[in-house]
């Protein structure tokens, strides 16, 4: 599977011909941003992963959109959106999975997770499924939650300051999805960028 970093633009229109891993890293220095990625499957049997990763700093605001549209048989896509949100940050995510009447044997999944670290955050999520074929598997999930108080308490009882404990747990949150990146160098670079 080839890996492609989607950068320097706000809108991407993609038609993968081979198995591809698309990565979107939200610029942590940006206060207001928007990114839209359209992936259309028109070649049978192609498989893709689309990953959005971002640490939203204080007062930042992002609009994110992903549209994965399956028009032919045997394609698959996994979309992951992993975000952590600091004080007063805002995110509005729209994620569509469309499976056409002709696109049998499709598998398409979407997962959005937001980890809320600060106060007065806003998170809007609209994961859409539009399925017009019965020989498919499709799902989406979205969750928005704070750091576990029990985990924080445990780490602090081991001597970590609250800020350090939060950082460890935030890293662990991103590690859940970074593990899906098989190239070790790429994984390390992304981790360094994020944390």
């Amino acid at each position: 599977m080839q890996m492609v970093l989607l950068e320097k633009q706000t809108e991407f229109t993609l038609e993968p011909k081979v198995d591809t891993f698309y990565l979107v890293l939200l610029d942590k220095n940006v206060e207001q941003g928007n990114i839209k990625v359209d992936v259309s499957f028109k070649k049978a049997g192609v498989s893709c992963q689309l990953l959005f990763l971002g640490r939203l700093k204080n007062n930042s605001s992002w609009q994110l959109e992903s549209n994965t549209r399956h028009f032919v048989t045997g394609t698959s896509c996994l979309t992951n959106v992993y975000l952590s949100q600091s004080e007063e940050s805002r995110v509005d995510y729209f994620g569509q999975i469309y499976i056409d009447r002709l696109a049998s044997q499709t598998k398409s999944f979407l997962k959005e997770q937001s980890l809320i670290l600060g106060k007065a955050t806003y998170n809007r999520s609209r994961p859409i499924l539009e399925i017009f074929n019965n020989k498919v598997k499709a799902s989406h999930s979205a969750s928005s939650s704070r750091l576990s108080e029990a985990d924080l308490f445990y780490l602090m009882s081991r001597g970590f300051k609250k800020v350090e404990a939060q950082k460890i747990l935030e890293e662990a949150f991103f590690n859940k999805v970074l593990d899906s990146i098989k190239v070790e160098l790429a994984r390390k670079l992304i981790k360094d960028y994020l944390c």
């Binding site: 999520s125 499924l129 989406h140």
Partner: protein, 469 residues
């Protein structure tokens, strides 16, 4: 779906619910909507000036509002080709013996008197525009429980009625709420006094017996502090080639520590547009449960909601949508968390077959004030053939500090492995699929009153006969 099986299914509906009786109305207005017709409805009900004014203002709002720009097409509805009021009895009857023969025969065939004897605390039976029959167990009457038609409530409990009517669903909420506010007729008024527990269900039956007719019943429920009750409504209509319109409004107030369950089994015939606005306001530590079964109608648009207005309030929605024969079931729920420590749960299951389309459309809003609130949404859809479709349109807005929001949705066909296992045990493919579909919706079916659960399973059996091969 095979043509012979489709015919069998339609025949089964026609036999049980789709029959019609000769129209013998005592009062019926012309087709179309006008200030005069609205005024005539008010006059026929001997309404006070404030209600007359409310209706006329709502008509103006209706004229100004547009049809929804989203969702299924409603372009076929011609509001000037609908009859807005048909009255079949002169006064509401208190015993079945007094009810006109055609109406009594209708409800006999639907099994209403039998259900009343065996299961229910009270019954309302609405035929076209008005309630034809009502009853309430004597001991509940003595406890101060009110279960009557909206018209009777407006006359006999006017202060209570005026305090709550239209306060949760204003006329300007949407075009069909405005239409209902202008043309409403019939529906139930329920008041449960503080700390009163109504153990057996209160039930309403809604029946449309005319083509190109609009039924606009309005239901207003107040569950006072510490009370609990269970309300069930069922809807059927004859099979006509022309459409009819059902646009109801339901308002439920669940006071502090009260608990209310509202169950709907909608099995309108395939010529009905079912466009309903249902909303509940839940106060401190109150519990509101919507159970919603959508089996019939041509197009349904219905998204019952809970306004969780005070600390500790809880809202729940369990729904089944069954879309067949090119039906569109556009259903869902809305949970608005407006106070701290509120929680909600939505479980929606749908089955699409025979070219039907089921859509889930929902909103969860956790406001800034709703700290420590929680919400969970699960939507599961089954598609049984290549002609059918399913869509999911959730919207989740979370601002509340320490709030937790979870949403999951999945779409799949029946798993081959499970099918294979059941068939290897000797079941036919149809029997195996029927069993798996029944298992899929079982978590919601078990919450239904027994007679509805049995009926739903029977319906699925009938429909699955046509879905294989």
């Amino acid at each position: 779906m095979k043509r012979t099986n489709l015919k069998k299914l339609n025949d089964a509906y026609a036999d049980k619910f789709g029959f019609s009786m000769p129209e013998k109305s005592v009062l019926s207005f012309d087709f179309g909507l006008s200030q005069k017709i609205i005024s005539d409805i008010s006059t026929s009900k001997n309404e006070p000036p404030w209600m007359r004014e409310f209706r006329q203002k709502s008509l103006q709002v209706f004229r100004k509002m547009k049809l929804p720009s989203w969702g299924p097409s409603l372009a076929e509805i011609d509001f000037e080709q609908i009859r807005y009021f048909i009255k079949d009895t002169d006064v509401e009857k208190k015993t079945w013996a007094e009810v006109p023969k055609e109406i009594k025969d209708t409800f006999d065939r639907l099994g209403v008197p039998q259900a009343e004897r065996e299961f229910l605390a009270g019954v309302k039976a609405q035929y076209n525009s008005e309630v034809a029959y009502s009853s309430l167990q004597a001991e509940l009457d003595e406890q101060g429980v009110i279960f009557c038609s909206m018209e009777e409530a407006l006359q006999k409990h006017s202060d209570l009625f005026k305090e709550y009517f239209g306060k949760l669903v204003p006329a300007a909420d949407n075009k069909f709420a405005a239409l209902n506010s202008a043309a409403w007729s019939g529906g139930s008024f329920v008041y449960i006094p503080p700390n009163t527990h109504v153990k057996r269900p209160l039930q309403s039956y809604f029946r449309i017996n005319a083509a190109r007719m609009g039924q606009f019943e309005r239901t207003l429920i107040i569950a006072d502090e510490g009370s609990s009750a269970n309300y069930v409504e069922g809807c059927t209509a004859p099979v006509y080639s022309e459409y009819s319109l059902h646009a109801a409004v339901v308002e439920v107030f669940v006071k502090k520590n009260a608990r209310f369950r509202y169950t709907t089994i909608q099995n309108w015939s395939g010529n009905i547009y079912n466009l309903v606005t249902k909303r509940a306001k839940v106060f401190k530590d109150g519990v509101m449960e919507w159970i919603d079964g959508n089996l019939g109608a041509k197009t349904t648009m219905k998204y019952p909601s809970c306004y969780l207005a005070e600390e500790g309030a809880y809202g729940e929605m369990l729904s089944i949508a069954y879309a067949k024969n090119n039906q569109i079931q556009d259903t869902g729920a809305k949970m608005l968390h407006l106070a701290k420590n509120t929680s909600s749960k939505i479980i929606a299951k749908s089955v699409s077959l025979g070219g039907g389309q089921s859509n889930y459309r929902g909103l969860v809003y956790i406001s800034k004030a709703a700290v420590d609130s929680k919400s969970k949404v699960e939507c599961d859809a089954l598609i049984l053939d290549k002609d059918s479709a399913t869509c999911t349109y959730p919207d989740m807005k979370v601002s509340g500090e320490n709030a937790t929001m979870e949403h999951e949705a999945s779409v799949s066909e029946i798993e081959e492995e499970k099918l294979f296992y059941l068939m290897s045990r000797g079941l036919t493919k149809t029997e195996a699929m029927t069993l798996l579909v029944a298992g899929f919706i079982e978590p919601i079916v078990k919450e239904l009153p027994l007679e509805y659960a049995v009926e739903l399973n029977r319906l699925i059996e009938l429909e699955m006969e046509g879905s294989v091969g």
